[in-house]
Amino acid sequence: DAGVTQSPTHLIKTRGQQVTLRCSPKSGHDTVSWYQQALGQGPQFIFQYYEEEERQRGNFPDRFSGHQFPNYSSELNVNALLLGDSALYLCASSFHEGEDYGYTFGSGTRLTVV
């Protein structure tokens, strides 16, 4: 059973460019959340997608946008990249049905902005 898969694993971009990161959720999961994790910090919540709509959003600027597709996979887009956007970007998928709840992380995409 494949868990959460993210692509690419590593990426180097130039300041001002745009980037798209991809996430395929774990089988059976219908919700995708994105996190930014700076070095030495805990994951910071960016936003969450459910039924192809943004359901929750953390304290991130509009340069960060996303999308969820009918197959539950998701993309994270970041425009006008800043040096401070360099981080590990984590995708987590989840499901919630009655008392049953699951939350699984992918291995992340390491983004370096130069």
Binding site: T31, S33, G40, Q41, G42, Q56, H96, Y103, F105
Partner: protein, 112 residues
């Protein structure tokens, strides 16, 4: 706002000793808690979870204790091994909102 914090950012233990990592959360509506282990350059790996209707749960060499009265949980690792060296995060979840709040992490170093 909601927060999750850990009492110690770093912890060093001798190989074979038991480790205890603590975590405090602020929102009493949190009803599910997860401990993750994160090794350098990798995503968080699930260790163990506990629901708010329990106060203790055991896994293989790990035990999670939950004290809802003081909004505190802990992760105990028995017979700590060098492979346990990593950063450990606790996460508090409000499952009705599917909202997960992470703590800042405790870096565990195991001394051979």
């Amino acid at each position: 706002g909601e927060s999750v914090g850990l009492h110690l950012p770093t912890l060093s233990v001798q190989e074979g000793d038991n480790s205890i990592i603590n975590c405090a959360y602020s929102n009493s509506a949190s009803d599910y808690f997860i401990w993750y282990k994160q090794e350098s350059g990798k995503g968080p790996q699930f260790i163990i979870d506990i629901r708010s209707n329990m106060d203790k749960r055991q896994g293989q060499r790990v035990t999670v204790l939950l004290n809802k009265t003081v909004k505190h949980l802990s992760l105990q690792i028995a017979a700590t091994q060098p492979g346990d060296s990593a950063v450990y995060f606790c996460a508090a979840v409000r499952t009705s909102y599917d909202k997960v709040i992470f703590g800042p992490g405790t870096s565990l170093s195991v001394i051979p």
